[in-house]
């Protein structure tokens, strides 16, 4: 038996304090932690159950922000009519993720921290080399079958894709992650692998996500999330895009775009945004500009299709958000 200690936190402060202990991990929905423990990727010595902490499940539209508690489940958030009206891309990203069973368990905070589906990362018995798991040990994906791996944001150390959907929608909408210590713009929250793929976010020891905060506005209200994959359900994205758009007649006044499924982190497509701001909402213009989303992409072991697919998914998401679909 692999023993571990279990503690149910009664306050955020207590959870924060305990989570600084060596080998400590937080437990919310458990959909990532238990999965990775079964794969022998993580072996916590102390599991701190935060599911009973009060006040972290609310979904509130207040003033110019939408606030979602870190412990709200994906299914509850996806069912919230206020959120659906204010930020449909977020609702859609949740509904298109995982399975109904997983959505009923998984929480918003945990969702952001879900870890990659890289087969090599998840199979330590056969692949001891993984810089994310064992810094400096090498990368088994580079040179291997990498159909699902990242074409953007990779490094010589790691090309594992960020698998989530929600964070892509939040990135497009300029959301921030609220923690026990601070509020972090989501684009600053996730770290590209660089030389330290084991560091996936800027969270510091003892820092706990308490919620996310999404700016309200026309961009969020006219937003959409498009997810493309071979299987219609229960599959991670081959490529996805979240787009929020504000139109002035048929002119794009403002637009925000992020991609998923093709990059090591949720990938903001600022170059596309800049190319389209102030331009007419026109399919050719959009398709041309969307190619900027995958500039600098690098293919590995069977994932070259993601470069073309990524550009097309961005274009179609813009068309949909702009009502041209």
């Amino acid at each position: 038996m692999i023993d571990f200690d279990y503690a149910r936190a009664s306050s955020l402060e207590e959870a924060a304090t305990r989570s600084r202990l060596p080998g400590a991990m937080l437990l919310a929905g458990g959909t990532t932690l238990i999965d990775l423990a079964k794969c022998d990727v993580v072996r916590p010595e102390l599991v701190i159950d935060i599911t009973r902490l009060p006040g972290l499940r609310d979904i509130a539209v207040e003033g110019d922000r939408i606030r979602i508690g870190a412990l709200a489940t994906m299914s509850r958030v996806a069912a919230d009519p206020g959120l659906r009206a204010e930020a449909p891309a977020v609702t859609q990203s949740l509904l298109l993720a995982a399975s109904a069973q997983l959505r009923a368990m998984a929480t918003i905070g945990g969702n952001l921290l879900q870890r990659t589906r890289c087969s090599y990362f998840r199979d330590p018995a056969a692949y001891p080399a993984c810089n994310k798991r064992a810094p400096g040990s090498g990368c088994s994906a580079i040179g291997g079958v990498a159909r699902g791996h990242a074409v953007l944001g990779g490094s010589d150390a790691c090309i594992a894709v960020y698998p989530g959907d929600l964070a892509v929608a939040l990135t497009a909408l300029g959301a921030s992650v609220v923690t026990t210590d601070r509020e972090i713009a989501i684009e600053a929250f996730f770290l590209a692998p660089g030389d330290t793929p084991e560091r996936e976010t800027i969270l510091t020891p003892g820092e706990i996500i308490t919620g996310v905060s999404i700016p309200r506005g026309p961009v969020a209200r006219s937003s959409t999330y498009l997810k493309v994959r071979d299987r219609q359900s229960y599959e991670f994205a081959s490529a996805s895009a979240a787009v929020g758009i504000e139109l002035d007649g048929s002119t794009i006044r403002d637009i925000r775009i992020a991609l998923g499924g093709i990059a090591t982190v949720p990938w903001r497509a600022q170059a596309v945004e800049e190319a389209l701001r102030g331009r007419a909402l026109d399919e050719t213009t959009i398709r041309t500009a969307s190619r900027l989303a995958v500039e600098g992409a690098v293919a590995h072991g069977g994932n070259a299709y993601k470069i073309e697919l990524g550009a097309r998914v961005v274009a179609r998401a813009i068309l949909t958000a702009g009502g041209l679909q």
């Binding site: 022998d40 199979d123 056969a126 692949y127 299709y305």
Partner: protein
């Protein structure tokens, strides 16, 4: 209803009031839905220890050393097993005829031939302790070169399987003279059975020489014999219990290496041992369908008549074990082909030995043939359905025999009508809905009818209820239900009054539930037995001095659970038994060929494939047939393919229960959708590791991938095929689905994809 009337009935619900042929719901359904059905690993065996497997993490190489010390010292551990300390068994051939080399057998590899091969096992008091200790077993390998799949050029061309050679006419001359020739290569990847109940067992030695095994099984008698041979026991001393099976699709027909491990550990420790193969382990604990490759060359005249067919097939097999995926089987019998040649090769690579997976041979065979037919139709500028009609054979060209029945032309008519095929514009990319390209494709499927003998027992109990007993199994296919219907039909009692007991090798014997043979042969055996029981009941009513009906009539009938005279005087079965002092009428019959035979000879009919009639000794060629008409929608930007409509017309003879047959048809079609678009075992070419060994990454179709499916039975009772007129059902409908989808994708996009699965990158 007289026998004559019954013969004329359609194989569907129009059988009417008679229990056999009615669309009854599954008898095992409520128990399963309410959690009362006991699966193998839920059997309440007291005092079980838990066994966890350790699989290799290299693709090839010699095991140099296994350090068991840390695992042995781990809390709760009773035994750490490997080839060095395992009890040695007697070598037994597997289902495919591979016999382990050497005087003795151990399920643990000493030389690893594939990644994920069984190397060691740990037994502990709890599952958690066994799992923890399994991680402490340290194995050192001397690595050898790995040929991960036959895509690796080093795998070479393999070796010919001459037994699969077939041919007639002069193919080369006919092809040289043919005005229209197409030649293409088609490939299918490794596919896995992935039954929802993973493999596992509880092995319990009730005495030194008596073993009970609770293990999901498609063949309890064959498995009992296999265990008996391993341990040198009498057949009767092994009992396999498998009342419910959570799917098998061919993977649960024989004991596997892990089965031996649990029995060895239980023997060595003197305690029952439970072993659950984890989902990731299932991908290498046994093999599914091997990777296949076929090159077909079809020559035709300008009107579309096929002149010649040349076929070369190959499948991956294990490094030192042989598995043949018979790729020429549909190729050689589906059309009127005057000149034909088919050759087959197997290519050894570092894979687990492949195995039977729903419609082995037939399914990939049809993928190659039916894609090639679509390409031929394209080359001829002909409607693909018309091409098939034109080449419909009036007999089986492979063996010259007449069909027992072949209602494929009817399937074409009915299926095409229901689908609206006549409205199809033949030009690719001619139909769209917004950004979705729409394609219509069709293809044909078939499955042979096999038959084997079986035994059955029927008991009429004192309360008038009936028991049917057989070691046959029900893996969700409906055996419980249709055997109750059969007994009810023959005995004249309501189906609800019949209880069926299955899946125990102590019961009257049955052959493997494979090759889609079980329903027909068990319905035949139970029907015969139940008629004999009815005769005994009637004899009792007519002849027993205490019978209330004695001297009231010359004949009696049984209807609605009552024994009655032609004038309508009747007594309940329970009443008759009570009056005559009988507590039970028990009848056992079999469908063995006539003749004297020893117990051992008799047993072989049920524990080997010796009794299976594949048609060689019959005057007719027996097959089920189907025609699939499928609509796909392909996103023009993303290349994602979604099946949006399926109409399948099927000739499976008489349907004993149209509702359950329909479930089998639809299940096959759903699995075919997965095969066409999703399923693929992804292999790391560097070390032969399966990279998607879990149900998130190995993709089977979800509900969202499955559209409305319309199935139409065009079958009629075929008494030349089987005694009660049914033909093959279970594996029929998957055959032909993948090519119909591939053909529809071509029609939608103009791109011909000849390798499955058809994933988005091939269409982006």
């Amino acid at each position: 209803m007289s026998a004559l009337e019954r013969r004329a009935k359609q194989g569907d619900a129009s059988d009417g009031a008679s229990p056999l042929g009615r669309p009854l719901s599954r008898a095992d359904g409520p128990d399963k839905v309410q959690g009362r059905a006991t699966y193998a690993l839920e059997q309440p065996v007291a005092g079980v220890l838990h066994c966890v497997l350790v699989q290799s993490t290299v693709g090839a190489g010699r095991v140099v050393s296994i350090d068991r010390n840390a695992a042995e010292a781990s809390p709760g551990v009773r035994l750490v097993l490997d080839a060095g300390n395992s009890l040695r068994l007697r070598p037994v051939s597997d289902f495919y005829g591979n016999k382990p080399e050497g005087e003795t057998y151990t399920p643990f590899a000493e030389v690893v031939e594939h990644n994920g091969e069984l190397v060691a096992a740990v037994v502990a008091d709890t599952l958690e302790e066994a799992r923890a200790a399994a991680r402490l077993v340290t194995i050192t390998y001397e690595d050898a070169a790995v040929i991960a799949s036959f895509a690796d050029a080093r795998a070479g061309e393999g070796r010919p399987v001459e037994a699969q050679d077939k041919g007639w006419g002069d193919v080369d001359a006919a092809l040289a003279a043919a005005p229209v020739v197409i030649s293409q290569t088609y490939e299918t990847p490794r596919e896995y059975n992935t039954p929802i109940e993973p493999h596992g067992l509880v092995a319990h030695w009730e005495a030194d020489d008596r073993l009970t095994v609770y293990e999901p099984s498609q063949w309890v008698d064959g498995m009992a014999q296999h265990f008996a041979d391993w341990f040198g026991l009498a057949f009767e001393n092994v009992r396999i219990v498998s009342p419910f099976i959570g799917g098998g699709f061919g993977s649960k027909g024989q004991p596997l290496p892990h089965s031996a491990v649990a029995a060895i550990a239980a023997k060595m420790l003197g305690r029952p041992v439970k072993l659950a193969v984890t989902r990731p382990q299932t991908f290498t604990a046994y093999g599914g369908r091997p990777g296949t490759r076929q090159t077909l060359t079809l020559g035709a005249d300008r009107d579309g008549r096929i002149l010649a067919l040349d076929h070369e097939g190959a499948n991956e097999t294990a490094a030192t074990k042989t598995f043949v995926e018979t790729l020429g089987v549909v190729t050689s019998m589906m059309y009127a082909v005057p000149n034909l040649r088919s050759r087959h090769r197997i290519v050894p690579v570092n894979t687990v030995t492949p195995g039977a997976f729903r419609a082995p041979g037939k399914n990939p065979s049809a993928f190659g043939l039916e894609c090639a037919m679509d390409e031929l139709a394209e080359a001829l500028a002909m409607d693909p359905l018309e091409l098939r009609r034109l080449n419909e054979p009036d007999h089986d060209f492979e063996n010259g025999k007449p069909w027992s029945s072949r209602r494929l032309l009817q399937a074409y008519d009915v299926g095409a009508q229901a689908f609206g095929w006549a409205r199809r514009n033949r030009t690719p990319r001619s139909m769209r809905d917004g950004r979705q390209l729409i394609g219509w494709g069709m293809a044909v499927g078939t499955h042979p009818v096999y038959s084997s003998p079986a035994e059955a027992m029927v008991r009429i109990l004192a309360d008038g209820s009936v028991e049917v007993l057989s070691s046959a199994i029900d893996m969700g296919t409906g055996t419980y239900t249709i055997l109750a219907q059969t007994a009810a039909d023959a005995l004249g009692v309501p189906a609800e009054r019949v209880t069926v007991r299955l899946g125990d090798s102590r019961l009257p014997r049955a052959p493997v539930a494979g090759g889609s043979q079980l329903a027909n042969l068990m319905v035949g055996a139970v029907h015969k037995t139940a008629l004999a029981a009815r005769d005994e009941l009637i004899a009792l009513g007519l002849g027993d001095p205490a019978s209330p009906l004695r001297d009231r009539a010359n004949t009696l009938s049984v209807e609605g659970g009552r024994v009655m005279t032609p004038r309508g005087e009747a007594v309940g079965i329970a009443e008759l038994l009570a009056a005559t002092g009988r507590s039970v009428i028990e009848v056992k019959r079999d469908t063995l060929p006539e003749g004297e035979r020893s117990d051992e000879e008799r047993r072989k009919f049920f524990t080997t494939m010796a009794g299976m009639e594949r048609g060689a000794n019959l005057p007719v060629s027996r097959h089920s047939f189907c025609a699939h008409f499928i609509e796909v929608r392909v996103d023009e930007d993303f290349g994602t393919v979604r099946v949006s409509r399926v109409v399948s017309a099927l000739d499976a003879g008489r349907l004993y229960n149209p509702k359950l047959a329909d479930s089998q048809f639809k299940g096959g079609i759903v699995m075919g959708i997965g095969m066409a678009l999703l399923e693929e075992g992804v292999v790391d070419p560097r070390n032969g590791r399966i990279l998607n060994a879990n149900l998130a990454d190995y993709r089977i179709a979800t509900n969202a991938d499955v559209p409305a499916i319309e199935t139409i039975s065009v079958g009629e009772p075929d008494y030349a095929a089987t005694p009660l007129g049914g033909k093959a059902v279970g594996e029929l409908a998957i055959v032909g689905v993948a090519p119909a989808i591939a053909n529809a994708v071509y029609h939608a996009t103009g791109k011909r994809i000849r390798r499955l699965p058809i994933t988005l990158e091939s269409l982006v």
